[in-house]
């Protein structure tokens, strides 16, 4: 079976630090993968390699629908249908909503001239249909810096959806959100599955991740520590394994956390 995305032997070093070390990772078609790990485990580095922001160290290979992709860049990843909602949302606070929606992908003609009216109109449509901005106080000209955490999340997610991604990655999407906003976010993940797309869901909060994913990948200190289908273990068993990995660096039950 051809995976939507496959990484083989991917490593990434920053100076003397090996953020990722010979990682093999894949995402299936219409699959939601939960990527779990402690702070500094390498989760964000992994997704930044998938988005083309970072380049893998030599020897690493990336495959998209079975085809090898060399020198993946951010624009290239987007053209393939890879979108990401970053942990930091990647928004420009002093700019308007429509500028943020089309950040880096402005609608232009062949001369580079902006089609501002079209971008405003598209933003207005997205506001009510996707973002759930029903208040008349928010317009396409509203400055994103005035939005709440959930609204900013809505903008970032809408941006990922608008360009019809086949693989959507969510990096800590529920951080800083209220209860209702968190529910909206998790419903959104379920919606990705229903739409036939794939998703990588990165979060610290296992209680958010577990209900919505198909498979769980645990990453620890730059390597894949374990992979489970959701139906293979309960939430408590998963918690136990995550704790063991964090304490010992291994899923081996014989290894004590006090070593």
């Amino acid at each position: 079976m051809t995976h939507v995305l496959e990484l083989k032997n991917v490593s990434k070093t920053f100076g003397e630090v090996a953020a990722l070390h010979h990682v093999n990772f894949h995402v299936g078609s219409n699959e939601i993968v939960g990527l779990l790990g402690d702070n500094g485990a390498g989760k964000s580095t992994l997704v930044k390699i998938i988005t083309g922001y970072y380049q893998s160290d030599p020897g690493g290979e990336i495959y998209w629908k079975g085809e090898k992709i060399d020198h993946l860049s951010v624009p290239m990843a987007r053209d393939l249908g890879i979108e990401i909602v970053y942990q930091e949302r990647a928004l420009a606070d002093q700019q308007t909503l429509w500028r943020n929606i089309f950040l880096g992908r402005e609608i232009t003609n062949s001369w580079g001239l902006l089609d501002i009216q079209k971008m405003r109109n598209e933003t207005k449509k997205l506001m009510s249909t996707v973002m759930g901005f029903t208040s008349s106080a928010v317009t396409p000209e509203s400055t994103v810096g005035t939005f709440s955490g959930g609204e900013r999340q809505g903008v970032a997610i809408t941006r990922a959806l608008y360009f019809e991604a086949e693989l959507v990655m969510l990096d800590e999407p529920t951080m800083g959100l209220s209860l209702s906003e968190t529910k909206k976010c998790l419903d959104f993940v379920a919606g990705i599955k229903a739409a036939g797309k794939s998703c990588i869901f990165i979060d610290h909060n296992i209680f958010h991740v577990y209900p919505v994913v198909d498979r769980i990948v645990v990453i620890d200190r730059g390597t894949i520590a374990g992979q489970y289908m959701k139906n293979e273990l309960t939430l408590d068993e998963l918690l136990d394994r995550l704790y063991r990995v964090a304490q010992t660096g291994s899923l081996d039950q014989n290894q004590s956390a006090t070593k």
Binding site: T51, Y53, S73, V74, P75, R78, Y86, E88, R89, A90, L91, A92, D93, Q94, Q95, R99, L103, G104, R105, E106, T108, G112, L113, L114, I116, T134, S135, S136, A137, E141, T143, T146
Partner: protein, 336 residues
């Protein structure tokens, strides 16, 4: 059908009138325009003989463009959260390059092209140092300011030279003539460059990337904006326009002197910041900079015409800048 929750949320919103929305959108430009008009009215009251005469406005249109032109691309650089302090030396370097090529070829046009290219290369050097080497632009451009001044002094042996040959070409009336026999071409070049810059900053993808890169460089990079080339282009524009302005200054006097440009640094930067461009990046307007330049330009003649000592100029500059920026900050908080 509106839910109870939606109705509650809507009831909390303070409805803004169309006028308030207009103020909110154009707060900075409105504030600056008001400040400019108030200053002009003040000097008109203090020195009516001077400010009711066309001569003062002709003088402003002749002299302000020399730093207003450089303030326009400097605005772009500051919006992108950098700064370029080398432009006074690049002004001189561009004309020095003209002299070198003219002496070698006896061709004014080739010399003029060499002048512009020299400025472009100076800007490119700044961009590459800042982007590729990661040196803060403040430090890098202080360094290149000395570098280009040194190159000019060495290449000219510290001596000035006449540029009478330019008078026989169309460049002379084109850059420093008078339109309709009255309005200095220098002023029109500010309008032309200002309009072009406004267009590219507000209607072209490059301008969108400038604002985004200055607002949040990390976000811009994450979303695929080529921040590096955006910055390099901005520095190139400063170099190109500085060389152009230097040529215009020299042509107006038909003389080039190797220390030219030194007096324009503060006025240029003051125009940019008075015009509302934030030193923190991400915001600023070409309109604000152009108006700011003429506000700066009117202060000294206004003070002298009002019968005060010229020493008051620096104090008034500082006062106006602080008040203008404060007004902008208040309006931004109130309406944004």
């Amino acid at each position: 059908m509106t839910t109870t929750l939606e109705a509650k949320n809507e009831a909390r919103i303070v409805r803004a009138s169309g006028f308030t929305k207009f103020l909110r959108k154009w707060a900075l430009q409105i504030a600056l325009t008001i400040v400019a008009i108030l200053i002009w009215l003040f000097f008109l009251w203090r020195a009516p003989t001077t400010f009711k005469s066309y001569d003062i406005y002709n003088s402003l249109m002749l002299t302000t463009p020399f730093f207003a032109l450089m303030a326009i691309p400097q605005t772009i650089v500051v919006i992108i959260k950098e700064i370029d302090l080398s432009f006074p030396s690049v002004m001189a370097w561009g004309v020095a390059a003209y002299e070198l090529v003219f002496v070698a070829t006896n061709n004014v046009w080739l010399g003029f092209i060499a002048c512009l290219l020299a400025g472009l290369i100076a800007g490119l050097l700044n961009g590459l140092i800042v982007v590729n080497l990661g040196i803060p632009s403040l430090i890098a451009t202080i360094g290149t300011q000395y570098l280009w001044r040194g190159v000019v002094m060495i290449s000219t042996n510290g001596k000035g030279s006449g540029m009478v040959e330019v008078k026989d070409t169309v460049l002379y009336p084109l850059l420093t003539g008078k339109l309709f026999g009255k309005i200095p071409m220098e002023f029109f070049w500010v309008i032309i460059l200002g309009a072009l810059a406004w267009f590219f900053m507000n209607r072209h993808q490059y301008g969108a990337h400038v604002y985004l890169s200055g607002d949040n460089e990390d976000s811009a990079r994450l979303m695929g904006v080529n921040v590096n080339s955006t910055k390099i282009i901005a520095f190139c524009l400063v170099g190109l326009v500085a060389a152009f302005a230097g040529f215009m200054v020299s042509e107006s006097l038909l003389f080039f002197w190797p220390t030219m440009g030194d007096g324009y640094l503060l006025n240029t930067l003051a125009s940019v910041f008075l015009g509302g461009t934030s030193v923190f990046g991400g915001t600023g307007t070409i309109y604000g900079t152009v108006v700011g330049a003429f506000v700066i330009a009117i202060i000294q003649p206004g003070i002298v015409a009002s019968g005060w000592l010229a020493y008051w100029t620096q104090l008034i500059y500082g006062f106006i800048i602080v008040v203008s920026v404060a007004v902008q900050a208040v309006l931004r908080k109130r309406f944004i």
